[in-house]
């Protein structure tokens, strides 16, 4: 309570001091823009059907942006080449020219190239018709994209199988879906315009451009595309970001696709739009973003198999804000502060020494600081003592054990019907040896994924005994080492990410030649490169060449495919590896990932701070994947040290790490600390008496306590295996269960402290330091003194105090 008051006090003070400056700041936004952005920066028009819309954004000195497309003056250098209709430009004749864009004194020249200005190619099924079906929602899972189709008509989900769709449209129920004699009578036309009853209703108007495309295609014979169709190679979304000033402000979005034949196309009308946070920004299917409440939103456009997004910040209208000049301790804080400034958020103050000691010790080693450590740290006057503490904690063996446990979860180390206890233990020991000797992560992962041999002789091979299904192995590798869930793309192209079925099966092909045979010992399995076996694409049954996710198609002839894959995966050639591991480490110390969940990296779930993500990944690579150094960076950053007390500007922030977060201790750490403070020992199967829960090798070894508090069973690679949600059985177990009460009784700590001659208030202080890493407040001492005075039995009261401390939220949470 005391802390909270003082924090609020401090922030009030800061506000008054800086009030004058912030007023000036706010007024600026109405003034002349600092620059304008014209998007896209050039215009390429090819064929008579092409067009390109231009949007112009004004950027003000305070970072606020405004959509000024309606207000700008366009001047055409040569109207014989291009013509204008509002902000949209159409081809007239072949040639190059320029368009001048002018607003509030800023001028930008826009180069224009027009080719084949009079050519009018036929409507393409894949390039023109399929995008209409996608935009109109025809092939979604709830409509004809369902596995069995809808109302007798089936399309491939999100259009993963264009040839199948063409067949179903034109060859099934011939003369009905497509009526070449009377094109307007085709069910495809009448259903989608709502002329005849349609479960999905009218999808677009008869006079719309969409309908015109379909009509023209049917009229010209509903032909399939001859030969290869140019592929969409990239998708661009404009503007590249926006800071909207106040609710109701709008900003239009423009999307341009680039094709493999070098052409581009304004596909704004064909793209599907969505917003990651409708609370802050909504978007219409025509591409207009409207600002709502304060916050951030990632606005996305999807066309073909590509999804792209742009970052929107919504601020209250003419918000007054003054930066609190928080110092940056290292590069992490620099990236953070940049983002905070954009968001008009001030980070909290740093936490107190005792809080830092408890927080860092728990996070880095999974144990509580001892009374001696508390005294030593608190009395240390070295200004660098926090860094020193982090360095010291990183050398402890408990640090290794925490990370062995975390990796054991990701590698699913546990006994199963296939994996014997001996194989499991060897697997665990393999992992422990790697982490204890600080083997660089890339080396360890390469060794793991490229492993061959017996599950006893080379325990890393247990990775492939655990999971024997080729596709599952591929999915697990992607989820654990790249942080990506590619499961969707087994059946259809990922609707919110860039991955296609081709990517999925090409990646799975790396795992298609894993040979497995029984060892001489029935418990042992031998994993080897069988040199044969392929993965086939379910559409067309074609053999898929192994291809890195988002990377190249390597030469695997005569090689162990897994070795080739592992070499790429755990290297700087793979852009996801370092980012993913850095993110996992970050999430451990800050409670959530920069991409959250850590194993759900996708275009539509962007990093909250991409710059920080890049910086962490960059440093991690630079450190040669020595994650100890990364941990040091994180724990010595100001961001890690922020107090959990919020200020006026960051109170509602839950994702940007602008203040410390409250994190419940994980099951193993909670049990270990309870044993630690009560001076008791645990016995787990396979471990000597007194071993810590963190050291349990087997995912299947558990106790009621650990299960109740959500210890990972290691049945899947999902980050969600560790459950941090509170539930009733946890509360009841702490209150009534045998753990705390019996540990207090069997540890006999209070008895011992009293026997040492300590007075009751001294015992209370010792207990506070043990459990909460702080001394009791005067108020707490006073109220406890009252109870002690009232009761005769000091020991009883003190044990109750002990019990109460262990049951307090302050104990159960890392704060």
């Amino acid at each position: 309570m005391r802390l909270k008051i003082s924090a609020i006090h401090a922030s009030c003070l800061a506000l008054t001091v800086l009030a004058a400056a912030s007023t000036a700041f706010a007024q600026d936004s109405a003034a002349k823009p600092a620059s304008i952005r014209v998007n896209p920066a050039d215009i390429h028009l090819t064929t008579v059907r092409d067009r390109q819309a231009i949007i112009v954004q004004a950027v003000y000195p305070d970072g606020i942006t405004r959509d000024v497309t309606e207000q700008v003056t366009f001047t055409l250098a040569n109207s014989a080449i291009v013509k204008q209709e509002k902000n949209v430009f159409f081809p007239v004749a072949d040639g190059t020219t320029e368009i001048n864009v002018e607003y509030a004194g800023h001028t930008i020249a826009l180069p224009v190239v027009v080719k084949q200005a009079t050519a009018d190619p036929a409507i393409s099924f894949q390039q023109d018709v399929m995008p209409v079906l996608l935009k109109a929602g025809c092939n979604t899972g709830s409509c004809h994209g369902a596995k069995l189709g809808k109302d007798g008509f089936r399309l491939s989900l999100f259009g993963y199988d264009p040839q199948g769709d063409y067949h179903n449209l034109t060859r099934e129920i011939s003369g009905r879906r497509i009526n070449l004699a009377l094109p307007a009578e085709s069910l495809m036309i009448t259903k989608s315009t709502g002329v005849v009853p349609h479960t999905g209703g009218g999808r677009f108007k008869a006079d719309s451009e969409y309908n015109a495309t379909l009509m023209r295609w049917v009229e010209s014979g509903a032909l399939n595309d001859p030969g290869a169709v140019p592929k969409v190679v990239s998708l661009e979304i404009y503007p590249k970001g926006a800071v909207l000033n106040g609710q109701g402000t709008t900003q239009r979005i423009n999307v341009r696709a680039k094709y493999s034949d070098g052409t581009d196309r304004d596909v704004t009308s064909l793209a599907k739009f969505s917003s990651s946070n409708e609370n802050s920004a909504t978007i219409t299917q025509e591409g207009t973003v409207t600002a709502e409440k304060r916050g951030e939103a990632f606005v996305m456009a999807r066309f073909d198999t590509h999804t792209v997004g742009t970052h929107f910040i919504v601020l209250p209208k003419d918000l007054k804000f003054a930066w609190n000049d928080a110092p940056a301790f290292n590069y992490i804080d620099e990236s953070m502060h940049k983002k905070f400034k954009k968001l008009r958020i001030n980070p909290s103050d740093i936490c107190s020494d005792d809080q830092f000691l408890r927080r860092a010790t728990l996070d880095i080693t999974g144990v509580l600081p001892t009374a001696e450590e508390f005294q030593a740290f608190m009395s240390d006057s070295d200004p660098k003592k926090r860094d020193k503490l982090v360095d010291e904690l990183l050398t402890r063996k408990e640090f290794v054990e925490i990370w062995v446990m975390k990796w054991a979860e990701l590698l699913q180390i546990r006994t199963t019907r296939q994996v014997s206890y001996k194989a499991m233990l060897r697997y665990y020991n393999w992992l422990q040896a790697r982490i204890a000797s600080n083997v660089p992560m890339d080396q360890m992962v390469q060794e793991l994924l490229g492993s061959n041999g017996g599950t006893f002789a080379n325990a890393a091979t247990n990775y492939y005994q655990n999971e024997t299904n080729t596709q599952k192995v591929a999915e697990n590798v992607a989820q654990v080492f790249l942080g990506m869930r590619i499961q969707c793309t087994q059946c259809h192209n990922h609707p919110f990410d860039r991955w296609t079925m081709d990517d999925y099966y090409s990646f799975a092909a790396f795992f298609s030649q894993i040979g497995r045979k029984r060892g001489e010992d029935p418990r042992e399995m031998i994993i080897f490169n069988s040199g044969g076996g392929e993965v086939r694409h379910p559409v067309g049954n074609r053999v898929m060449q192994p291809k890195f996710l988002g990377g190249e198609t390597p030469d695997v002839k005569g090689k162990d495919r897994r070795v080739v894959m592992a070499k790429w995966l755990a290297s700087s050639d793979n852009p996801y590896f370092a980012r993913n591991l850095a993110n996992i480490v970050w999430a451990h110390f800050l409670g959530q990932g920069i991409v959250n969940e850590v194993d759900d990296v996708r275009v539509s779930n962007p990093a909250v701070n991409p710059e920080l993500m890049d910086a962490l990944a960059g440093h991690f690579t630079e450190y040669k994947y020595d994650f100890k150094k990364l941990v040091r960076d994180i724990c010595t950053s100001r961001t890690y040290q922020l107090s959990t007390q919020t200020n006026e500007t960051n109170a509602s922030d839950t994702v940007n790490f602008s203040h410390g977060s409250l994190r419940r201790l994980r099951a193993e750490v909670l049990l270990d600390t309870i044993s630690q403070v009560t001076d008791t020992k645990n016995k787990f199967s396979g471990l000597p008496m007194g071993a810590r829960a963190v050291q349990i090798a087997n995912g299947n070894t558990s106790t009621y306590f650990l299960t109740a508090f959500g210890r990972a069973k290691r049945e899947s690679v999902c980050a969600c295996e560790v459950k941090m949600e509170p539930n009733l059985s946890q509360a009841l177990h702490l209150l009534n269960g045998d753990t705390i009460q019996s540990k207090i009784a069997s540890g006999k700590l209070v008895e011992r402290l009293l026997a040492e001659g300590k007075t009751a208030p001294q015992v209370i202080e010792a207990l506070y330091i043990r459990c909460l890493t702080r001394k009791p407040t005067a108020k707490e001492l006073a109220s406890l003194a009252a109870v002690l005075a009232e009761q005769k039995n000091d020991k009883q009261v003190l044990e109750d105090v002990f019990w109460a401390l262990l049951n307090s939220r302050e104990y159960v949470f890392n704060h």
Binding site: R417, K422, F456, G519, E520, D521, R523, I526, G686
Partner: protein, 832 residues
């Protein structure tokens, strides 16, 4: 559901216990021999533990070197004083107990080269180890999460070898780990699984300095329990991990190199035995002593050829001559060895690669090529990790065989040999198990003046034909009764009979069979394998022990004998029989007897067992023959057990049971009728063999409320008809299981068979056709006529209509009725 299954399992378990109790209480069983090892050249007391061993009379050893000087049976144990010869082979040996009432299971025990010391807890801390000296065998136990430490003094340059027997002891799934550490806790040598000894382990090191050395023993995954016994041999003995070559020609002297010993390679000249010896191995011996277990060594009928490096490619293959064994070592990572040989078209070879079977670390992959490098065959794991294929030489010419490790590994002790041998007939005899994992009744013990029988199985490889059991060398007073085993069968009944005055004795014999054609010269012997340790995954067998001799004994007389009363009639195909089995009880014997028929000729079915209660002396054993039962005069036997101071087993004589073709078969027509009507079932007879007098045929499988009478007929009857009376409330439906049972009497006994089956359909009467005035339906609209007419009175009823004919008739009549109805309607309409 789950709960029900659990209950079911519990019941099963309970049943198993109930069944097992009398058996286990009786026949002697041996579960363990303790201590697990005896030092050779000493006399020691060993306890054989199990059940019902109180009348033990003798220990049967499967190998020489043992003399029993004292036998002290006491209830479920026997204390045996054994004198072990000084030159007795160290390692595993097999023994079983012969009692006055039976023979126990066989179990293993070990002969140690060193004096034994017992483990003394506490020794679980490195800081407080148990002191020992070099040259001892420690008998210890690893409890759960237990670690045992021993300390010894050694001089610089002295070899310290530690070999632990864990899984090999055959007690429980105990996978030991052993390490030799120096006083600073550094591991000088450690092993969890040593290929030489599979899950067991050996460690060996030359002491780098004078000082204390520590031996650590534990379960490899820190498991263990009270049965996790081990024998740790610690000494200065050489402990090579491989011998090269790993085989040689029978009767010849070979020079071998022992590889993998820390003190360096050891060469030795060995004179090989002239005949095949089971479990043959070589012991590397030097000044340091003899190791506790040998390096396995193949005895082969041909000599050795050796690889000459470089031989990595087909072109550089080492040339060798057949028939031979090719020997080599996959010396380093990625090493490949090739051998080139010529062969003639038409030759067929069994090509066996021995590596893991001689306990080499190599997991061989063997490939065969033409001389030009074109592939012919390849194999990885046909013989466990070892490789095998059969090679039929396609043409005269040169061929290349290639060996490498499956994972491309290699090492100085990755020894292998490839044996080329012409395809030969192989014959092995056995006794099928009656316990899934145990040895119960896999020995022969015959009570004086009584009989005992067993099934003998034969597995023939690379030949076919009739076999003759030789039954040589049986104990005095035992005779064997057996017919030849036909070529289409691989098991046969054999009855052993002991004379009333046969002496109580027993022995291990070579029990053999030969091809009935003496020219074939094919002989094979008995083999058995016992499962000692099994565990996950599934019920994998971790330790088994095979023997090749049969234990046979005469035991004390029993108060009952069993006799099959030979039936005077055959059992016919699709027929059944009640086989009479009689027990002859001695005065005062009142036990109930459980009777089984273990031998069932093909196509003959019988209950798994029947019981003769204490107050009865005979039982009828129901038999049935299916339609494909093999027609022949078979020899069968019954075996019975009763509780005579435990379960005692006797058998009947070998009795004749004939399976014959049926005398007459019936073609039975399908029949149908409506409820309350009569149906007829018409049968056409097909006589295959004549019989005397009258036979009876019964119609069985009829639903309730359908009545008929049995019919008598003779050998001249060609057809007959059953009249079936149904009632108004006979349940309608199709009855598919209606059949004729035929009983022919011959020699005063009945031949019962099932002569033909059919279907009976009982329908509900149809409602009158719609639109027809119901009341006026005096002329029945439905065609009852055909079915109704024949009364039993006429001597030969007209041939009844088939179901199809009836349906056709009904349809016709319906059509006519409709036409009539329309006519009436039309006329009626006109009148309006």
């Amino acid at each position: 559901m789950a709960r029900r299954i659990v209950v079911g399992r519990a019941l099963l378990a309970a049943a198993a216990i109930l069944m097992a109790v009398p058996a286990w209480a009786s026949s002697p069983r041996l579960s363990i021999i303790l201590p697990r090892g005896i030092q050779r050249g000493t006399e020691q007391v060993v306890t054989f533990s199990g059940s019902s061993l109180g009348d033990a009379q003798e220990i049967l050893f499967y190998s020489p070197g043992f003399e029993v000087t004292k036998l002290e049976p006491n209830g479920n144990t026997v204390k045996v004083t054994i004198k072990v010869a000084t030159d007795c082979r160290p390692g595993e040996h097999v023994a079983q107990v012969r009692c006055a009432s039976g023979i126990s299971d066989y179990r293993t025990f070990f002969v140690d080269p060193f004096p034994a010391v017992a483990e003394k807890e506490p020794n679980s801390n490195f800081d407080a180890p148990q002191p020992i000296t070099l040259g001892v065998t420690v008998g210890g136990v690893v409890q759960n999460e237990d670690v045992d430490y021993y300390v010894l003094d050694a001089k610089k340059g002295q070899r310290i070898s530690a070999e632990v027997f864990g899984m090999r002891l055959g007690n429980t799934l105990f996978d030991p780990y052993v390490a030799i550490l120096d006083s600073k806790r550094f591991e000088l040598s450690s092993a969890d699984d040593t290929p030489l000894v599979l899950q067991d382990s050996v460690a060996s090191v030359v002491a780098p300095a004078d000082g204390k050395y520590y031996i650590e023993v534990r379960e490899s995954a820190y498991g263990g329990n009270g049965s996790s016994r081990y024998r740790l041999h610690v000494g200065t003995f050489p402990r090579p991990t491989a011998v090269y070559p790993a085989g040689g020609k029978l009767g010849e002297e070979v020079e071998v190199r022992f590889l993998g010993d820390p003190a360096g390679e050891l060469k030795q000249k060995v004179k090989l035995p002239a005949t095949t010896t089971p479990d043959f191995g070589l012991f590397a011996t030097d000044a340091g002593g003899i190791p506790p277990s040998p390096n396995p060594f193949r005895l082969f009928e041909y000599g050795n050829a050796f690889e000459v490096e470089p031989n990595e490619a087909v072109a550089t293959a080492t040339p060798v001559q057949l028939p031979l064994a090719f020997n080599g070592i996959i010396e380093k990572k990625g090493d490949v060895d090739c051998f080139k040989f010529s062969a003639k078209k038409g030759q067929v070879f069994e090509v066996e690669c021995y590596a893991r079977r001689v306990r080499s670390a190599l997991d061989p992959v063997m490939n065969l090529y033409y001389a030009n490098g074109k592939s012919i065959a390849g194999n990885d794991d046909s013989r466990g990790p070892d490789s095998y294929f059969r090679f039929s030489v396609p043409a005269d010419g040169e061929y290349v065989v290639r060996v490498t490790d499956h994972l491309g590994r290699g090492g100085s002790d990755f020894v292998y040999r490839i044996e080329f041998q012409a395809v030969k007939p192989r014959l092995t005899l056995g006794i099928p198990r009656v316990e899934r994992y145990g040895q119960y009744r896999q020995t022969i013990y015959v009570a004086r003046g009584n009989k005992f029988a067993t099934l003998i199985t034969a597995s023939r490889a690379n030949f076919g034909g009739e076999l003759v059991l030789e039954g040589k060398d049986l104990p005095a007073g035992i005779t064997m009764h057996a017919e030849n085993m036909p070529s289409n069968l691989n098991s046969m009944p054999v009855v052993f009979e002991a004379a009333a005055d046969a002496p109580l004795s027993g022995k291990l014999i070579d029990f053999t069979a030969r091809h009935a054609d003496p020219k074939q010269n094919i002989v094979g012997g008995f083999a058995n394998s016992a499962d000692f340790i099994r565990g996950a995954p599934g019920q994998s067998i971790y330790k088994r022990k095979a023997v090749n001799r049969l234990a046979i004994a005469v035991v004390e007389e029993l108060p009952f004998t069993l006799e099959i009363i030979e039936p005077k009639v055959p059992i016919v195909r699709n027929g059944s029989m009640q086989l009479k089995i009689v027990v002859h009880r001695k005065e005062g014997f009142k036990g109930a007897i459980n009777v089984q028929l273990p031998f069932r000729p093909p196509g003959l079915g019988a209950a798994s067992s029947v019981n003769i209660p204490a107050d009865k002396n005979e039982v009828l054993y129901p038999l049935s023959a299916n339609g494909g039962a093999q027609i022949k005069k078979w020899r069968i036997y019954a075996i019975g057990s009763s509780n005579v101071k435990g379960a005692a087993w006797v058998s009947s004589q070998l009795a004749t049971l004939e399976i014959a073709a049926p005398y007459v078969t019936f073609a039975v027509q399908r029949a149908s009728c409506e409820q309350g009507e009569e149906a007829q079932i018409y049968c056409k007879l097909n006589h295959a063999a004549a019989f005397d007098g009258m036979a009876t045929v019964k119609l069985l499988g009829l639903p309730p409320k359908v009545a008929t009478t049995d019919i008598q007929f003779n050998k001249d009857t060609k057809e007959l008809t059953f009249i079936l009376k149904t009632e108004k409330d006979t349940k309608p439906g199709k009855y598919n299981n209606v059949f004729c049972q035929l009983i022919i009497t011959q020699n005063g006994e009945s031949i019962v068979s099932r002569a033909g089956g059919t279907q009976l359909q009982i329908d509900k009467p149809l409602p009158p056709p719609p639109g027809q005035p119901v009341v006026k339906a005096t002329p029945k609209p439905m065609p009852k006529v055909a079915a109704g007419q024949p009364k039993p009175a006429p001597p030969k009823p007209p041939k009844p209509l088939t179901r199809l004919q009836k349906l056709r008739l009904a349809a016709k009549q319906r059509a006519e009725a409709k036409a009539t109805a329309r006519e009436t309607q039309e006329t009626g309409g006109g009148s309006k």
